[in-house]
């Protein structure tokens, strides 16, 4: 018996996507903040890609200065509330908390962070006042965490900022990708609205930049351009049957789950292919949406999975089964998916070797391919002099985030190859400083 049934109402959805890190109440926040040791040169801070002064904001919560706590967080990370909920804290701040060395539960930094930031958002508290206009204009392409963070920081320094966004919602994969049981769309959008009110940048939605002419006119009008374009569509596997109905790319499937969860088609027997965090998310989400059987299939061993251990545990917790050392050779079916043919593998020195004669078939009615996202090199080739690395990530100066075309700066997934919201937030902010250091 599956633990979840397919949701048909908003209430069903709330249960299916019950928040992993719900907001703390004041008592919880007080007790938890009382535990923080206020470490010197705190390892939690070092572990945070945005370097939030964690002991300080926790102490501010403890002394009743919640607005001050929120300010401490936002001073380092404009995605304070979202990050508190979606960051893999187990491997970042909380994983570094000194209490781990005592076998004591680490401080719940993420939840405390969301506790403080959500309150200023809810109260529409004004914490920032941008500098007077400095007469310079910057275009930001992509309203994801990188683009918006860059915009906030630039506005703070007095730049005029216009964001061009292909889609109809802001925040990129924070809204189109991050698992719905980590953060609600409402919380994501509320934070972006709050940021827009604080900093006053413009976002032009449904406004993809895709032609050389558009690029020329942006270059003519703006003093600098920031690329926060993230990654592209799911990379195909190039095996037979990928075009069958009910075979989805993970990011595309998850986008549907995020935007229209009551309309998304959920298979009864779902096979998810891949061993990264996106695979874990796709599997967990399928299970929570009522799939009867969800199988994760990874071509290497369990230990070699790229996904964080806690993400796999989370998937197992909702009934997902894993099979390892199996690589798909074909998706089977006639118009619709009916199964997947695998061949067993051994991993030797990191290389995957197939075992001859070990083919087997797994019947299913939906396949989700979580085999990585493509890079947007097609778009990048429209920009003169812009170079990228072999893996398609944009080449930048590590301090200024300036690209090989001096007018362009870049950050986030498009530069780091695909990381977390918090990395994109950090890089967007640093790129804004880079822009300022070169323009000022």
């Amino acid at each position: 018996m599956p633990e979840f049934k397919q949701p048909t109402t908003e209430q069903d959805l709330e249960l299916a996507f019950e928040q992993l890190k719900p907001y703390m109440n004041p008592t919880m926040a007080y007790y938890e903040s009382s535990r923080c040791l206020f470490c010197y040169d705190a390892p939690c801070v070092t572990a945070c890609p945005t370097g939030i002064d964690i002991p300080l904001f926790i102490r501010q919560i403890n002394t009743g200065n919640v607005d001050g706590a929120a300010k401490t967080i936002y001073d380092s990370n404009y995605f304070g509330n979202i990050c508190g909920k979606v960051c893999p804290t187990e491997v970042l701040c909380e994983g570094a908390c000194v209490y781990n060395h005592q076998d004591v539960k680490p401080i719940e930094i993420g939840r405390l962070q969301s506790y403080a930031t959500s309150q200023v958002i809810e109260k529409e508290k004004r914490l920032y006042h941008p500098a007077p206009p400095n007469g310079k204009k910057v275009a930001v392409i992509g309203a994801g965490p990188a683009g918006i963070s860059c915009a906030c920081e630039l506005r703070l320094m007095g730049y005029e900022v216009t964001i061009f966004e292909a889609k109809k919602h802001p925040s990129g994969l924070a809204i189109y990708g991050c698992a719905p049981y980590k953060v609600t769309n409402e919380d994501v959008l509320d934070e972006i609205v709050w940021l827009q009110e604080q900093f006053g940048f413009e976002i032009l939605y449904n406004h993809p930049i895709h032609s050389a002419e558009q690029i020329k006119s942006l270059e003519a009008y703006f003093d600098a351009i920031f690329l926060g374009i993230g990654l592209g569509a799911t990379r195909p596997m190039s095996i037979p049957g990928e075009n069958l109905e009910n075979c989805y790319g993970a990011t595309e499937y998850i986008e549907q789950v995020k935007i229209s969860p009551l309309k998304v088609r959920v298979g009864k027997k779902v096979v998810v292919i891949g061993g990264g965090n996106t695979a874990m998310d796709a599997a967990s989400e399928s299970a929570r949406l009522g799939a009867e059987e969800v199988t994760l299939a990874y071509r290497r061993s369990k230990e070699e999975m790229g996904a964080y251990e806690f993400e796999y545990e989370l998937a197992k917790g909702v009934g997902v089964k894993g099979i390892f050392n199996a690589v798909p050779t074909a998706i089977l079916g006639n118009g619709q998916v009916e199964g997947v043919r695998f061949i067993k593998t051994n991993s030797e020195n990191g290389r995957v070797i197939t075992v001859p004669g070990s083919e087997f078939e797994l019947p299913c009615d939906a396949v989700i391919l979580a085999t990585g996202q493509e890079k947007k090199t097609g778009f990048l080739s429209l920009i003169e002099g812009l170079e990228w690395n072999k893996d398609g990530s944009i080449k930048v100066n590590v301090e200024t985030f300036q690209t090989t075309n001096p007018k362009y700066f870049a950050g986030g997934d498009a530069v780091n190859g695909g990381a977390e919201v918090v990395n994109a937030a950090a890089e967007g902010k640093m790129a804004a400083r880079g822009i300022n250091s070169i323009m000022a």
């Binding site: 008592t27 206020f38 010197y40 300080l56 002394t63 200065n65």
Partner: protein, 440 residues
């Protein structure tokens, strides 16, 4: 932005947060580091006669999981040479001309006082603080609290210092005395420009149950020391208030004792302290705690609409009266919120065994206790032990129209003189018969 610049008897500092004379102000290195971190002033570790310190000097009490809620030391004044200290004071003032550097002093004869005051003035000290407070070691040599406990001696020495001092003179008081206003008034008579309080309270931290030696232990023996830290704040607040309200004192006060965060500082200031000094909290967490204190104070001032420190210094003083002025007609009764109650029944046992048998256990099978209104004297005990915020509230029951104090009764000759008088306290208050205790 509120203005937090501070002025204590003419000694200016960028903010009201000073380091108290203690190990954190042992050297120019530490004071510079502190100023760099944001502290507004520092009272140098007491300079004076040559001394020797013991090895093992501190003791602490932990309460449950909280370390160092009370702290004790058997340390004497500085053991570094006067020449080194003077040179370093001069250097600090060169780097930080706007910050307050106060030299704490403790010597014996009039000539010595004259000389050392001139020395520290030449080094550039903005003020001097006379240490009449150290309650261990130095007092055995006739200095420190031995002076603070003899108002006439204190007055004489203060006069000696005032004979030569060109900078403001602060007299630091010991709390090891019955009535703090006596030495405070003596300081004022002697010409002191300000007083600071409290120094540490004589204490013995505890005894090692295996060795039978109290802590801190010096080669198998111990001695009484001086108590400070969060635990002493209520004692300090009361003494600050007493001095602030005394018509014979009327000089500015620097508040010391148990200050760890912005709240503690504001409380000292509401009771009349013009600025505050901190020792234990810095010894525990380092200079970095100033990061929490300054924004916390600013946030408080913004929220309350205070533009400068003087707007709230002493603001609580009109609300502290002697007991005889309190309204005896004011009547509150405990009220339990059944919704918030978690059923620990600590309130029941506290009231039943430790107060007035005014709480009954529920008979209906749930765990929410009930207040017996007729028995509740409004003592607050239950609301203090209850672990849930605002679960037990004290609700006003009188109509607020009558105000009669003990003083009014005395003036109108209405004070009860016999136990049978209807006005006598406890009259008509029901208590169970002794034997009822055994019938359960």
């Amino acid at each position: 932005m509120p203005n937090i610049s501070s002025n204590l008897a003419g000694i200016r500092s960028p903010n009201p947060f000073w380091l108290a004379s203690a190990p954190p102000t042992n050297s120019g290195y530490q004071v510079m580091k502190a100023f760099d971190a944001g502290w507004g002033g520092a009272v140098w570790k007491t300079l004076g006669v040559p001394i020797i310190n013991t090895s093992s000097r501190y003791g602490a009490i932990n309460y449950r999981s909280s370390r160092m809620v009370g702290f004790n030391n058997i340390e004497l004044i500085t053991d570094r040479t006067l020449a080194d200290n003077l040179r370093e004071i001069e250097e600090v003032k060169k780097y930080f001309p706007e910050h307050a550097v106060i030299a704490s002093l403790m010597v014996e004869s009039r000539a010595e006082w004259h000389q050392i005051v001139k020395d520290v003035e030449n080094a550039g000290a903005d003020g001097v603080e006379l240490n009449f407070g150290c309650p261990h070691g130095m007092c055995e040599r006739g200095m420190g609290s031995a002076v603070g406990q003899e108002p006439s001696v204190l007055e004489t020495i203060t006069r000696w210092v005032k004979e030569v001092a060109k900078v403001p003179v602060i007299v630091k008081l010991t709390p090891n005395i019955t009535d703090i206003t006596e030495p405070a008034a003596a300081a004022a008579r002697g010409g002191a420009d300000a007083i600071s309080l409290i120094n540490t309270i004589q204490s013995l931290m505890g005894v090692d149950l295996d060795t039978f030696v109290p802590t801190p232990m010096v080669d198998g023996k111990s001695t009484n020391g001086g108590y400070c830290g969060p635990a002493v704040k209520p004692i300090a607040l009361n003494m600050v208030k007493n001095c602030a309200q005394d018509p014979d004192v009327r000089i500015p006060i620097s508040g010391i004792g148990g200050i760890e965060n912005w709240r503690d500082a504001v409380e000292h200031m509401l009771l009349g302290a013009s600025n505050v000094q901190v020792c234990t909290a810095v010894m525990h967490y380092g200079f970095g705690i100033i990061r929490e204190m300054i924004p916390g104070l600013e946030n408080f001032m913004r929220e309350k609409g205070f533009e400068k420190l003087d707007d709230f210094i002493g603001k609580a003083l009109p609300n502290v009266k002697t007991w005889e002025n309190l309204n005896l007609k004011y009547k509150v009764i405990a009220d339990i919120s059944a919704e918030k109650c978690i059923g620990c029944q600590l309130c029941y046992t506290a009231c039943e065994d430790g107060a007035h048998q005014a709480i009954a256990l529920p008979k209906n099978g749930n765990r929410v206790p009930e207040i017996i209104e007729g028995n509740c004297v409004g003592c607050n005990l239950c609301s203090l032990v209850c672990p849930v915020e605002e679960c037990i509230t004290m609700v006003r029951k009188d109509d607020g129209k009558k105000h009669e104090s003990w003083k009014d009764y005395m003036a109108a000759d209405k004070a009860p003189t016999t136990f049978n008088d209807d006005r006598a306290g406890g009259k008509g208050h029901w208590v169970p018969e002794p034997a009822a205790a055994l019938k359960r």
